[in-house]
Subunit: 191 residues, 2 copies
């Protein structure tokens, strides 16, 4: 039997950069079509400042099979589309009955979780905040600060990703700026 070799990589705790990694996924404003409540504001922002980076994901080279623990780091840039903070697309696991572990590394933000029935829970994340996303909860991270918000994620290799459900329905709530505060409000586009 051939066994996979153990390996070490460098996670820069101050920036969230993972090196080496298999690939870096860049999500720009144009990749986030339909993800924010105010699509017109997204288009205007893109016209004004170009197709800026919203977040980058540093994906470790780990098989996506049941025996393994794939992991990645994510760095969300500070910014807003209208009054809604920059965030990840968010996803359920394709196999709903699979958990995920998040560890905040730099910056400040939130983790928004949601069941298939639209129940939501929100958690503040700072460096050292460990969020446990149990089976059955969709999850999205949001940068509420003025610096890049970085964190580590670890998930079971057989979890898979279901982005489609969130792309279609959205989250029931969105996180918006009200003065200097981040406030969770109903998503007018939630289906």
């Amino acid at each position: 039997m051939t066994v996979m070799e153990p390996s070490a990589s460098r996670l820069e705790l101050q920036t969230g950069i993972l090196d080496p990694c298999a690939r870096v996924l860049s999500r720009r404003l144009s990749d986030m079509q339909g993800m924010f409540a105010d699509e017109k504001a997204r288009l205007e922002l893109q016209a004004r400042q170009g197709d800026s980076l919203v977040y980058a994901v540093y994906v470790a080279e780990i098989p996506e099979t049941a025996s393994h623990l794939p992991h990645s780091t994510t760095v969300i840039q500070p910014g807003r589309v209208g009054d809604e903070f920059f965030m990840t697309k968010g996803h359920f696991h394709a196999v709903r009955d699979r958990a995920e572990v998040y560890l905040g590394l730099a910056g400040q933000g939130c983790m928004l979780t949601q069941t298939d029935e639209g129940e939501t829970r929100l958690f503040d994340m700072r460096p050292g905040t460990l969020v446990y996303v149990p089976p059955f909860w969709a999850h999205r991270t949001i940068n509420t600060g003025s610096e890049p918000f970085a964190f580590l994620c670890v998930w079971p290799g057989d979890a898979g990703h279901d982005y489609g459900t969130i792309e279609t329905r959205g989250f029931a709530k969105i996180l918006v700026a009200r003065g200097s505060k981040a406030v969770l409000v109903d998503n007018p586009r939630y289906g």
Copy 2:
């Protein structure tokens, strides 16, 4: 269906303390009988300085079932038994075909991995070193520094722990101090 609630805990990145956690396991010199190559030195150390702490494990309250990702932090104290550095007992997973993710948080040490056939691989760990222990590798962490060595571990809920194999056979190699260096040498007691 009742789903488990998401939760946030505080991981002190400078100390490795996880709060809240389900329990703190303390491994003292008396718990480490037979784990170091020089058992006489262990007994002498215990007689001299009492039943000191070797390491503590902060275990998160997560079910040990396939859907979940149990995790813990470990803090290994600096010290030696004879010339062998303080370390964890080390284990295989009961289900051999299961991985584990380690992230160094504070201090300095090493990760020693080993197959069932006695092949070993050693990795330096510093804050930000992420070690991927693939399926089939036993793993032990070792404090080679003068400060507590702290790290986070995440494992699949259905992995289980096999401590017995290492308790019986040991690792093929041990990490010992030679002057100011940590050197990997054959374990005279490896069976």
